[in-house]
Every structure is written in structure tokens, then in C-alpha cells.
Symmetry: C2
């Protein structure tokens, strides 16, 4: 299997040549036939629609060539089989294994890692059941009504976004077991507010840190413990840990129990591991979390398809590279028309930007082409009343990723002016796609819309646990494929280290740099 | 006074020439002296630090020339005096007047508009006092404990961000009067969730729509009224309106009272009007809202300074244009190291992108230079564990806007490893600025940080109401000055219209476009 930089690929040269003379105007080509034709089925009943992308048959053919030449599916298989894909940290990359085994059994030191993940899954699912059944209670005998996750980055964004995505669904289905809250920031006002709004005697805390050394998380742990002690509670009865087996938090009597992950699941890909699973099982029940895993696993399986028209993650990745490297768009907006997905863009922002915001290839050699885009977004229709002005009418083109569902989660709706709100929501979504694509001429240039703003749409019947798993895995796999195309290591994050080193210098008082000292001084440090 | 496109300015040509040969390396120049020197005082005790910007004395001199040549201060004065600055909609632009009179009295049809704003301010402040004093109660006699704003875009983002910014401060100061919640999205799951989590008999709703015709807001009004009626409550005792005097919501017996704004205050600039004032006065008391106005008004006054070294909003605007048009950076990240400001970036995203995301000048003629950047951001330290990887190490440079405060709002903190959390927060902030600016060499290119990532820092003692007013007005004025520099009309938003038109077509069933019909069909409309 060959790993090579994108611009070393023969197909790259071909695509660049094509891009130079490409005149495919999807603005004029976007009709009902194209909408019906350009759909790739995804897992759990979702679909990926790329009709409003600036991609014609010839472009698609060239993108397939690129996928084949860069051996994207073989690289994915190699990852599934446990090869050392994280070249920077010399680690396997196994988040797929947290939801199903698609490759060969992954063994290490005689241990089957898939079995380890399965065992932990059963352990935290059982723990959640026992909390729901009342075996575990707070130290004053109160039933737990709230679970509060303490974690930052991947231990926060994914689990929080997934919880918010399913809360209304669970309420409607009678599946909501516990409220979940999250403490992440080292800003003490964050923890203070969450604590002030919670009944501590009914709260169970999940401390999440793979290394067991995350500065923010340890500071917040002690913040919380201080409050628990002051409330006369036994901290060890109110806290579990999610960590690695070698961390100081493991097998520690300070916690009710500990659940384990390992270095082969990166924070931003850990929503399907104990990092997301513990809080989601407690909030919604183990059966709901397993449905979520099923959707993700099904998506992982579809991502093995060689044919870009059968593999939505692969096609999405390739179109993203087409837009990034050949059309030179440096950003992508993620626009879910679903309030439940209001923090999903923030999770994608981490997943994508931390994975592919790199300037060296997997061997540590600088690359001379663009890599991952800036990701941002807010839910629709809110975004329409905010930054859509720029998307429609600025001097720049920003590719768009829409997400929508036919049904709302709660089906609690009213008819106003002849339609329910859910219908209005989706009417807006359809209207925006077409408005961005086709624009509008006008003699008054201030009212003219140039159009040709490309978008894709992921849609399905309803945002259920399995649909959410499918959606999450789609983007995880898209980001993975893009990393392979760009020849990056998408699974380390050396860019976070320098800040940590300098922070330690500030806190130790050995600044070693007079500007650092001056900034610290004006900030009262 | 001359309005001209940016690239017609003589100083533009000079700056472009300078940019081509500019070799100012702030990476090597950033020392304690520069940090101490490059500070511009702002209102309410805040400061604007631009030491880590790629701007030397010569650049600064040229930017001052540009400010003078484009007559930025005169244009601001013209706006304050009530001239028709919103050329697209042929309207005055008067949000400054909602917090103080800095120009001549603005008269229209014999009416003093400043007096009108003042009168409404006193009316909603009195109303808030009367709610707090118990004169108004719910229809079953319950004291109001929660205020719920129904609005979208500018009627949501600014007020919500301001509320979140002051909630912890108010709790610490004993100023918190009512909880505030917000319903914005037409997605029925949004309103349904807020309602499910609220005690309706103790809730007062504020319906905010200037035109009184906003689709989402009217749908949510009826959604809420339906719930109130089902709960046996009198809707007219639980709802006030904030609207224009000519809207269907004005002087309507369906509401307990109505408070007025007019067409001269755009939604995204309306936080200091009744749109923000009603909910903020109810939540925190009228005195707190007036402190907030004072900070904003003081900032507006400072923005009249001609000298860029005495006018932070002007300098910030000019540096932004330097980065956008001469260094070609298409985005800016807003990074408040303050959990209280967690939704402030979302508000700036609207304020900036909806104002200056334009491709025609104030006369409706297409411009041939870049205009407003994409704005995105999350609070630190959270962002460090998310997208900072890309900011530090990607192939692109993204200008950064940091915000920080010496003290936390609640002063509820613990010492861990020798420092409190607030100290850790600011140590991280100082460390990031220097890490971005100076980078780090390494033989391992994967661990190399190129540096030269420019940032500015707004900092102050504590995020109080007046500091928040100062911060908000700073960005409003920055956006205004940038609009003047680019010769745009920053105060209309024609880009939102086409989507509205097509949505109506979908809802009426007269699609007029088969792609629009096909998209509607797959979305179940």
C-alpha cells in the first residue's frame, strides 16, 4: 500500500487540469432529475444528497480515480485491522472497534482489544442499569436524578452534542432516565454555575480524562469535591471515572467505579466509547446507547464500499477536497435544520479541525497544498437570521452542509397559517438550498444573488439514536478519508502542546520570555 | 463628505505598495516593551492590546491616513446626527441614540427620536420594577420567576449573549431577579423543550418582532399561547410585546403591554434598545441595564477620537481591513477566555457577517475587493482542546481576537497545584497569545509551530454590566467603521430575502421550480 502526498498523485494532476477548464454550472443544471439522481443512501435510513454540488459526471469519475489511486478503502481496512495509522504517536486507531468488529481481531500482548472494549461497554451499561434500578444512590440515600460529566475537548463536545441531540427524542419516547450536565472550562464560573443549578445530593459525577492529568478536569474535580464535602456528602459515592487503565484515576477508591478506554481512541472520536457511553447510558438507558452504536457500526460498514456512489462518507470527503484544493474554498458551514443538533457543529469543528488542521504529512514532512478547512455553523432557521447574509451575498463562496429530518422529535406542534412548524422548518431548508444554488438576477444589484453556492444535504425521517450514530460515523469517516487523501496523520494533535508548555511556565513563574511575563501581568497572573 | 470605494483611496494604493514589501516580523519584535506600548484604553476600564498584530509604526501611520481619507469619524458623526446612512432601505441608523445622545438632536416629523427612545427605556424599566414589586403577577396569582423571550436573529442572539454574560455576575451581586430563557428556532422541538422545562404559571413571555410579521416568532407565539390556554392561563396576562408602533402587535389587548422600537435600530444592533432592555431589566433590574448602557455610551464617545491610538474601535477596524484586504485572511476567530461570553462569538457572527458580508457598495454597485470575514469562535480554554490545533499548525493563518478578565464573576474558586482556576485560565490565555505569535522551532516538523499568528487582546478587571456595554459597543463601532472603509451599507440585509420568497412558494405549493419541489418532497413538505 502506497502513502503519497496528494499532489504526487497522477489523478491530482488530471483533476487540476480539469478544474482549470471546468465550466460545469450546477446553477443551471439543478433540476428535479438531478435532485433525484444525486442521492447516496447512508446507514440507518439517512441519505446524502449532492445535487447542489459543483460536480458533474467527469468530475465524479476523476474523484473516483483519486480515491482508487490513494487506496482510501485499503487504508481504512488497514486502520480497522489495527495497523499503526497514528504515525506521530505510533498508535493504532480503533474508535471503529468501539461499535463493532469490521476487520481482523486486533490483538496486542495476547489481549483482544475488541473484547476489552466490549467488556467495558457491558460494564458501564450494567452500571447505568444499577443506577436506574436504585442499587447506587447518593451518600445520603437520595436517588440520582442528574449526571454531570467533567471533561474538556473530546470528553465534552461529542458527549454533550450527542446528549442534546437525543434529549427530546428520549422525552418523547419515555426513555429519559437522568438529566445530564457538563462542566468543561477551567473558568471557575463554569463549574460554579452548574453546581449552583444542581442538587448535589442527587448528582452523580463522571470524571473523564484519558491520561488522568488534564489540567482543567482535575481542577474542576477538586472544585466539585470541595462543594460535595461542604454539602456533607461522601465524594466517593458521587463520582465515577472514565480513564485509561494506566492513569492515576484507575482503580482508585476515590471513585465509585472506573470505566476504561485506551490510547487507540482519540478524544474527538470517543463518543462511541465509555467517554460518551457512560453519560449517554445513564441519561437514556443502555439500550438507547446500543442503538446509537448500531447506527455508527452500520455506517462504518458502508464506508468500506469502493464505489463513491455507494459510499457517502467517501464521496463527501472527495467533494470536500475538490472544493478545498481545486476550487480554493477555505471553510465549510455546517447547518443542521434541527435544534437538537445545535451543538453538533461545535463537535464537528473539533473533529475536523483538530484532525486535519495540519501542515506536515504523516511522515512529518511539510506539505505544499491546503489541508482541512475552518468549520463553523449554527442550526437553521436561526442561522438564516444571522450570518446567511454573508453566505448569500458576500464576495466569497462558502460550501454548505445542510442536515434535515422529515419529522420533529417530539411531534409537539401547532398549525399556523395552514402549516405546522416542522413543515415551515423544512420549507425553509429546501428554499435555502435552491436560493444558494440558483440565486436571483435583479437590476438592483443589492437585491441580486449570484447563486452557485454549493451545498450538500443529509436527510432522514427522524433524528433517532441509530440515525445519530450514522450521522456521527459519517463525519468521522469523512474526516478519516480526507486525512488519507491529504496524506496526513489525522489522529494526533501536536498543535495543542506548545500552549501547555508555556502555561506551565507562567504558573511556575519561570516565564523565560519577557512578552509572556508582560501578558501575564496585565491579566493579573 | 466623500464616500468612495476602498480601492479608490490614495492611501489604499500606498498600503498595498507597503504590504508587498512589508517584512515586519512581529514574531521577533514581540517583547515586554511592545506589550506595554501597544495598548489603547477603552471605555469602562477595558483595554485593547494590539502588540501581537503584524502592524509596525509605518503600517499604523498608513492606516491612520486611510481613516482620515475615508473620513471615518465624520461619517460616524453624520450617522449620529441622523443622516440616512442605511442607503438601501433609506433609513437613519440610530442604535447609538438608544444609550445616549452624542450628536445633534435627531428630529423627524417634529418628533425628537432620542426622547422617544428615552421614554421607552423608562417605560420598560418601570414595567420591570413593577414585575419585581409584584404589581404584575401570572393569571393565577403566581409571582413571575421566569421571563421567556420569543424572537430570532437580532431579537435572540444579542439579548441571549448579554443575559448569559451577566447571569453569574448578577448572582454574585445579589442582582438576579428572574431567570431568562429564549425560544428562537421554528423547529417545534425548540419551543417544546423550553416550555417543558418551565412553570408556565410563573412565566412571563416577551414577544419580539419589529415588523410583527416574523414567521418563526409568530409560529412560536401561537405554540406558546396554545400551551398557556391548555394550562388554564390567561395569555394576555403572560405576554408583552416589543415591536414597532406600526406593527400588528402594537397596542394590542392580547398583550399586557407593548414597548417600542423603530426602523432606525437594526436587529443586530438592538441589544441596547427595548429588544435587549426589556428582558435584561426583568432579569437583573433596571439599574443593571442602565449601567450596561453607560458602558456602551462611553465607548461610543471614545469612538469619536480621530487618533487611532486613542480609538480602539477604529484601530481594531483598520487592523481588520489590513488583515482582510492586504494580508488576505478570510476569517477571524473570537476567543473569549470567559465562560460567561460563551455565546458572544455567535452574536458577533451575526453582527459582523450580516453587516459587512456584502458584494455591492452603499450605492448598489459591485465592489472588486474583499469585504467582511467569516467570524467564528468558542470560549477558552475549551477551544484549546478543540480547533486550536488548526489555528497553530495548519497551512492557513487565522487572525485571533482574545478577550479576558483578571477576576472571575463569582469569585467561587479553589486552589489546585498552587493556583486558583482563574489564574490557570489567564495563564493559558497569556501562553496562547505568545505561542501563536512566536511559535517554536523543532527538528521534528510535526512539533514545529510556525508562529506569526496575529492576535489582539481585549482585557479588563471583571466582566461587569458597564464592561459588557463597552465590549458590545466596541464591536458595533468596529463593524460600522469597517463598513465605512469598504464603502458598504452595513445596515441592510437583502441577502435574507430570497430564502423568504422561496419558502413562501414552498408553503403555498406553487413551487415554480422543479428542483425546489423535489427538495421539498424528500424533506416531507
Amino acid at each position: 500500500m502506497q502513502y503519497q502526498n496528494l499532489n504526487k498523485a497522477a489523478s491530482f494532476i488530471k483533476i487540476a487540469g480539469y478544474a482549470e477548464k471546468q465550466e460545469f454550472n450546477f446553477k443551471d443544471k439543478l433540476d428535479a432529475d438531478r435532485v433525484k439522481k444525486c442521492i447516496v443512501p447512508m446507514a440507518a435510513g439517512l441519505n446524502y444528497s449532492w445535487a447542489a454540488k459543483s460536480v458533474d459526471d467527469q468530475c465524479l469519475k476523476l474523484l473516483q480515480e483519486l480515491a482508487d489511486e490513494q487506496e482510501l478503502i485499503n487504508k481504512y481496512k488497514s486502520l480497522l485491522n489495527g495497523d499503526m495509522i497514528n504515525t506521530g504517536e505510533k498508535r493504532k486507531v480503533l474508535h471503529h472497534l468501539s461499535r463493532g468488529e469490521l476487520g481482523q481481531p486486533v490483538m496486542e500482548d495476547g489481549k483482544n482489544i475488541g473484547d476489552f472494549y466490549k467488556k467495558e461497554l457491558e460494564r458501564f451499561c450494567n452500571f447505568a442499569n444499577e443506577v436506574h434500578n436504585g442499587k447506587y444512590k447518593g451518600s445520603t440515600g437520595k436517588t440520582f436524578t442528574t449526571v454531570i460529566q467533567i471533561g474538556i475537548g473530546g470528553s465534552d463536545l461529542g458527549p454533550r452534542a450527542m446528549y442534546m441531540a437525543l434529549e427530546n427524542w428520549a422525552l418523547a419516547e419515555g426513555k429519559k432516565k437522568l438529566n445530564a450536565k457538563f462542566i468543561s472550562n477551567v473558568d471557575p464560573d463554569d463549574a460554579s454555575q452548574v453546581i449552583a443549578e444542581s442538587k448535589l445530593d442527587e448528582s452523580l459525577f463522571i470524571l473523564v480524562s484519558k491520561s488522568g492529568t488534564t489540567q482543567e478536569t482535575l481542577a474542576n474535580e477538586l472544585f466539585v469535591k470541595d462543594k460535595l464535602v461542604k454539602a456533607g456528602l461522601d465524594t466517593s459515592k458521587h463520582m465515577v471515572a472514565v480513564t485509561s487503565e494506566t492513569s492515576p484515576l484507575a482503580r482508585n477508591s476515590a471513585y465509585l467505579d472506573s470505566f476504561y478506554i485506551d490510547d487507540y481512541i482519540g478524544g474527538r472520536f470517543s463518543s462511541t466509547s465509555a467517554v460518551g457511553g457512560c453519560v449517554l447510558s445513564l441519561a437514556f438507558g443502555a439500550d438507547v446507547f446500543k442503538e446509537f452504536l448500531k447506527g455508527a457500526s452500520e455506517a462504518d460498514k458502508l464506508a468500506l464500499e469502493n464505489d463513491v456512489l455507494k459510499n457517502a462518507a467517501l464521496l463527501d470527503a472527495l467533494i470536500g477536497v475538490w472544493e478545498r484544493n481545486f476550487l480554493d474554498f477555505p471553510y465549510t458551514a455546517v447547518l443542521p435544520y434541527s435544534q437538537a443538533l445545535s451543538r453538533f457543529p461545535a463537535h464537528l469543528q473539533q473533529m475536523d479541525m483538530e484532525s486535519n488542521g495540519k501542515r506536515v504529512n504523516r511522515n512529518g514532512e511539510p506539505v505544499d497544498y491546503s489541508t482541512g478547512p475552518v468549520i463553523f455553523g449554527e442550526p437553521g432557521t436561526n442561522g438564516q437570521h444571522s450570518f446567511f447574509q454573508l453566505l448569500h451575498q458576500s464576495t466569497e463562496i462558502i460550501p454548505l452542509q445542510f442536515i434535515g429530518f422529515i419529522e420533529s422529535q417530539k411531534n409537539d406542534d401547532v398549525t399556523v397559517d395552514g402549516s405546522i412548524s416542522q413543515t415551515k422548518l423544512n420549507a425553509n431548508l429546501a428554499a435555502q438550498i435552491v436560493a444558494f444554488a440558483k440565486g436571483q438576477d435583479s437590476d438592483d444589484k443589492n437585491k441580486e444573488f449570484p447563486g452557485c453556492r454549493p451545498s450538500s444535504l443529509i436527510y432522514g425521517k427522524k433524528l433517532t439514536p441509530s440515525a445519530l450514530g450514522s450521522l456521527l460515523a459519517h463525519f468521522e469517516n469523512k474526516v478519516m478519508f480526507q486525512g488519507f487523501i491529504w496524506n496526513l496523520n489525522s489522529f494526533d494533535q501536536e498543535g495543542v502542546q506548545l500552549g501547555k508548555v508555556l502555561t506551565k511556565k507562567v504558573l511556575s513563574g519561570n516565564f523565560g520570555d519577557d512578552a509572556l511575563e508582560a501578558y501575564s501581568k496585565i491579566l493579573g497572573v
